[in-house]
């Protein structure tokens, strides 16, 4: 287990140097939230348009998930790499050294990869969770139930994100959960009204 201890220490050292944990946490919540609200849009769009085939909902939903995942991964990689590079060069100018091969340089490159992965996977996974009922659409008597189950999953995911945020801020967990769920309910209501 020595390698595991070494890895843990290295991650902690990199986290101290680049603040990976805090940034990844922020990206995770922000993008998972984005992912859930986007997939709520897709579901509500399909529902109001009267789409009754689960495979169509799954293919449009998965296509949206993939696009969000790639967008998150790519966008975060490019922006984070640019910001980190600038930061490293500026720090190197102040210490009058090339920090690329130093521990700070390696930590910085690791941070870029971790943040890009979190940014890509968070919206993808959060949205895929919402689509789960459609994979089991055959179990429901009517497709509308799968829609309701999917939207229920979306609200549950939002509650989870709210609780996570509440735990980070050490604030009121219930209030935090209500705030995130409210965003889901508001977007459902607006799409419903527009669709109707």
């Amino acid at each position: 287990m020595r390698w595991f201890e070494d890895l843990r220490q290295r991650i902690r050292a990199y986290d101290n140097l680049t603040n990976i944990g805090e940034i990844a946490r922020r990206y995770f919540v922000m993008n998972a939230f984005d992912g859930v609200l986007t997939i709520i849009g897709v579901l509500m769009g399909n529902l109001t348009a009267g789409v009754e085939r689960a495979d169509i909902v799954i293919s449009t939903g998965l296509a949206t998930c993939i696009a969000m995942g790639v967008s998150g991964l790519w966008g975060a990689y490019l922006t984070e790499a640019a910001e980190r590079k600038r930061d490293l060069t500026e720090l190197g100018r102040q210490t009058l050294t090339d920090l690329n091969q130093s521990r700070i340089g390696r930590a910085s490159r690791t941070a870029v990869v971790v943040v890009a992965l979190v940014d890509g996977l968070a919206p993808f996974l959060a949205a895929v969770v919402v689509l789960i009922p459609f994979f089991a659409a055959g179990l429901f008597p009517v497709i509308t139930w799968a829609y309701y189950a999917g939207l229920g999953m979306a609200l549950l995911t939002l509650v989870g994100l709210g609780l996570f945020l509440g735990r980070i801020s050490r604030g009121n967990l219930i209030l935090s959960g209500v705030k995130t769920v409210l965003a889901g309910l508001v977007s459902m209501l607006i799409i419903f009204l527009v669709g109707a």
């Binding site: 101290n16 720090l91 210490t95 130093s102």
Partner: protein
């Protein structure tokens, strides 16, 4: 080659890694028995650190590589003691 027993270095380093990390890692290098690091000036993102190292047989290349790996730069070597024992600089009339 005589053995280096004390090194005093003037360095410039980013805030992180902290001097706790640097002192701890320097003290694990072979031939080093004690390390003292003190900060004497703080800038916006960097700080000046005076590093004093004592040991039986200090390897300067190893020390230099470790400080570089930690993102620091050695500005000057302010004192070196080599030989079979540590001596202080002798007082002169000018002092």
């Amino acid at each position: 080659m005589g053995k280096i027993r004390r090194l005093v270095l003037d360095t410039l380093k980013p805030y992180e890694p902290s001097i706790i990390d640097i002192a701890s890692q320097l003290s694990e290098l072979p031939g080093i028995s004690a390390v003292n690091i003190s900060i004497y000036e703080i800038d916006r993102r960097v700080e000046n650190a005076k590093i004093t190292i004592e040991g039986e047989d200090i390897s300067y290349p190893l020390v230099e590589a470790l400080i570089g790996e930690m993102g620091g730069a050695i500005h000057s070597i302010d004192e070196v003691v080599a030989g079979t024992k540590i001596i202080e600089d002798a007082a002169t009339l000018q002092d």
